[in-house]
C-alpha cells in the first residue's frame, strides 16, 4: 500500500515541479521517490499483509514490484538528454511513467479482480499517451492509435471474462474463486469456462502473445525508443505477474482445462516470434519480435504448475528485463549518433566503444540463453520445470526455437565486433554508463550465482 502511495505522490510532486519550471529537479525527485518505494518493498518483505481484501502484498507481489521499480529506475536514468531534445514539457513524461508504474504495482499485488482491472487501465491509459507523445511524428501517432484500439478491445474481452466468472462464483475475490472451484469441482457452472478463456485472451493481448501479437511490432517500432524500452520490459513483466497470479493460484484447480489452449498459444508464440525475428532488417523491430518469443518462454512456466513456477517466471522476467534495457540503451545511443536503427548502423561498434559493445554482447548472450548469463538460468529453469512431467516434445520444440534465436542475436554480435563500419565514437553520457554497468552486473551475477534469487518467493 505504501509503495503505491509513494509512487503516486512522487508523480504529483514531479508534475508540480514541472509547472514551476524546475526541470533540473525532476530526475532527483523521481529517483528519491522510487528509492523510497523500493525501501518500502524491502520493509514489507515476508509481511503478507492484506489491504481491505483488495490487495495482498505477499512475497510474490513484492518481488515483482521490486523488479518493476528497479527496471523503471534504470529507464529513468536513460532519460538524460533524451526527452529534453524532443520537447519542453518533460515533467509530463516522468509523471505518466510514474502513474503507469503505480498501475503495475496494483497489477502484481491484486487480490480482487476489480484491482486487476483498475491497475491494468491505469497502466494502459498512461501508455497510450506515452506511445503517442511525439505529436508531429506520424509513426508515433500510428503506434498510439493502434495501441489504444487494441488495448481497449482487449479490455472488453478481459471484462467479459471477469463478468462471467463473477456470475458463476458470485465473487471477485481470488481466494473465493479458488474455493468455489475446489468445493464444486464436479458441478462448475458452464459459464465459468468461457470466462476463463476470455480472460486468457484479454491478458494474452496485453502481454503480446501470438495469435494476439500483431499490434506489438508496430507499436514498439513507432513509439519513442525509451517508451518502447519501458513497454517491452517493465510493462511485460507486470503483465506476466498478473497472468500468473490469476492462473497459477485461482484457476489452478482447472489446470487440465486451460492448459490445452495455453499450449497452443505458447507454441504459436515461440514459433512466430522467433521465425519472424529472423527476417528483420531493423534492430528495434527485431527486439519487438524477440520480446514476443520471450513471452512464449514466460508462458511456458504455466504449462506445468509446480511450486517453482512463480519463481521461475521471476528469474526469467528479471533476466529478460535487464538484458533488454541494455539492448535498448545501446540502440538509443546508436540512433542518436547515426539516425538509423538498422543492423548496419551497429557495424564496427566494438572498435571505438568497447564498454558499449561489451554490454551489448552480454545482453545478446543473455537473451539467447548462453551459460553464465541470467538468460541461461531462466531458460534452464523453465525447461526443467516442464521436463518434470516428461513433456519431451514440447521441450524439444522450445529448445529448437531457442536455437533459432541464436541466429539473430549473434547477427548483432557479429556486426558489432567483426564487421567493418563507420567506426563512429558514440557520446556515452555518465548515466548511460551507470545503467549499462548495473544491468551487466545483475545479468552476470544472476548467471554465475543464481542462488540469490532462486528461492525468493
Amino acid at each position: 500500500m505504501n509503495i503505491i502511495i509513494t509512487i503516486s505522490i512522487t508523480a504529483f510532486i514531479v508534475l508540480y515541479a514541472g509547472l514551476f519550471k524546475a526541470n533540473r529537479a525532476l530526475l532527483p525527485l523521481t529517483v528519491v521517490g522510487l528509492l523510497t518505494a523500493l525501501g518500502f518493498t524491502f520493509c514489507a518483505w515476508n509481511g503478507n499483509a492484506v489491504h481491505f481484501g483488495m490487495m495482498q502484498t505477499d512475497n510474490f507481489a513484492l518481488a515483482f514490484s521490486g523488479v518493476c521499480i528497479v527496471g523503471t529506475l534504470l529507464i529513468f536514468l536513460l532519460t538524460q538528454n533524451y526527452f529534453a531534445a524532443k520537447s519542453s514539457n518533460i515533467a509530463e513524461y516522468y509523471t505518466l511513467i510514474l502513474f503507469a508504474l503505480a498501475g503495475m504495482i496494483m497489477m502484481v499485488s491484486y487480490k480482487n479482480m476489480a484491482m486487476l482491472f483498475v491497475g491494468l487501465e491505469i497502466m494502459s491509459v498512461s501508455l497510450y499517451i506515452l506511445a503517442g507523445i511525439r505529436k508531429q511524428d506520424f509513426a508515433s501517432n500510428e503506434a498510439s492509435l493502434k495501441y489504444f484500439l487494441m488495448g481497449a478491445f482487449s479490455t472488453g474481452f478481459l471484462l467479459f471474462g471477469i463478468t462471467l466468472i463473477y456470475g458463476a462464483t458470485g465473487s471477485f475475490d481470488l481466494d473465493k474463486i479458488q474455493a468455489y472451484l475446489v468445493d464444486n469441482s464436479k458441478s462448475i457452472s458452464p459459464i465459468f469456462y468461457p470466462g476463463v478463456i476470455l480472460m486468457m485472451i484479454g491478458l494474452c493481448f496485453k502481454v503480446g502473445a501470438a495469435p494476439f501479437h500483431f499490434w506489438t511490432p508496430d507499436v514498439y517500432e513507432g513509439s519513442p525508443s525509451l517508451i518502447t524500452t519501458f513497454m517491452s520490459t517493465v510493462v511485460k513483466t507486470a503483465g506476466f505477474a498478473a497472468f500468473l497470479r490469476l492462473f497459477a493460484s485461482s484457476f489452478a484447480p482447472l489446470h487440465d482445462f486451460w492448459v490445452v489452449p495455453l499450449t497452443v498459444i505458447v507454441c504459436l508464440t515461440l514459433f512466430i516470434g522467433n521465425v519472424t525475428a529472423l527476417f528483420q532488417k531493423n534492430f528495434k523491430r527485431m527486439l519487438a519480435y524477440s520480446s514476443i518469443s520471450h513471452a512464449g518462454y514466460l508462458l511456458f512456466s504455466l504449462i506445468v504448475l509446480s511450486k517453482n513456477s512463480e519463481n521461475n517466471v521471476l528469474v526469467y522476467a528479471a533476466a529478460y528485463t535487464f538484458a533488454s534495457i541494455i539492448a535498448f540503451a545501446v540502440l538509443i545511443l546508436v540512433k542518436q549518433k547515426t539516425g538509423s536503427d538498422s543492423f548496419e548502423s551497429f557495424n564496427g561498434l566494438g572498435k571505438k566503444n568497447p564498454l558499449v559493445a561489451l554490454s551489448l554482447t552480454v545482453a545478446m548472450l543473455s537473451l539467447a540463453g548462453i551459460p553464465l548469463t541470467a538468460g541461461f538460468i531462466g531458460k534452464y529453469l523453465m525447461f526443467l520445470n516442464v521436463m518434470g512431467e516428461y513433456k519431451t516434445l514440447l521441450v524439444a520444440f522450445a529448445i529448437l526455437n531457442a536455437l533459432v534465436g541464436f541466429y539473430y542475436y549473434f547477427k548483432v554480435i557479429v556486426a558489432v565486433w567483426f564487421k567493418d563500419g563507420a567506426e563512429t565514437e558514440l557520446s556515452t553520457p555518465g548515466q548511460y554508463k551507470v545503467v549499462l554497468l548495473v544491468s551487466v552486473a545483475i545479468t552476470l551475477i544472476l548467471g554465475i550465482y543464481p542462488a540469490i534469487i532462486l528461492n525468493l518467493i
Binding site: Y128, S144, F148, A152, T163, L164, Y166, G167, I191
Partner: protein, 109 residues
C-alpha cells in the same frame, strides 16, 4: 429501487446472458470489420456496455452489491479512456486529415 430489482430478477438470468453475449458479439464484429476509428471506438463501448448490463444482472440475481460497484469502476475508466482515445484520434486527424484506419500502414515488416 426495490421494485426495480424485483422486476429485473423476474426475467430469467439466461435471457440476460444471451442478450449480453449478442451485444458483445456485435461489438466485436464492429471492431473487426469497420475501418473508421470512431466507429471502432463506438463498438468497443458497446462491448463494455454489454459487460455492464450483465454485471448488473448477475449482481441483482445473487443479491450481491459488489457487481454494481464494479460497473461504476468500468464507467469511470471507460470515460478516462474516451478522453484519451478521442485526443489520440484528433491528433491523428490533424496529421493525416483522415480517421480511416487504412492510413495506418506506414509501419510494416
Amino acid at each position: 429501487m426495490e421494485n426495480l430489482t424485483t422486476q429485473m430478477a423476474g426475467v430469467p438470468l439466461n435471457h440476460y446472458i444471451y442478450l449480453c453475449a449478442i451485444i458483445f458479439t456485435i461489438g466485436v464484429i464492429g471492431v473487426l470489420t469497420r475501418r473508421n476509428a470512431i466507429v471502432i471506438f463506438m463498438s468497443v463501448e458497446l462491448m463494455l456496455n454489454a459487460v455492464n448490463l450483465l454485471l448488473t444482472a448477475f449482481s441483482v440475481h445473487s443479491n450481491d452489491p459488489s457487481g454494481q460497484v464494479f460497473v461504476f469502476f468500468i464507467m469511470a475508466l471507460a470515460a478516462a479512456e474516451v478522453a484519451v482515445g478521442l485526443a489520440i484520434i484528433v491528433m491523428v486527424y490533424r496529421n493525416t486529415k483522415s480517421i480511416d484506419i487504412n492510413v495506418l500502414n506506414r509501419l510494416k515488416w
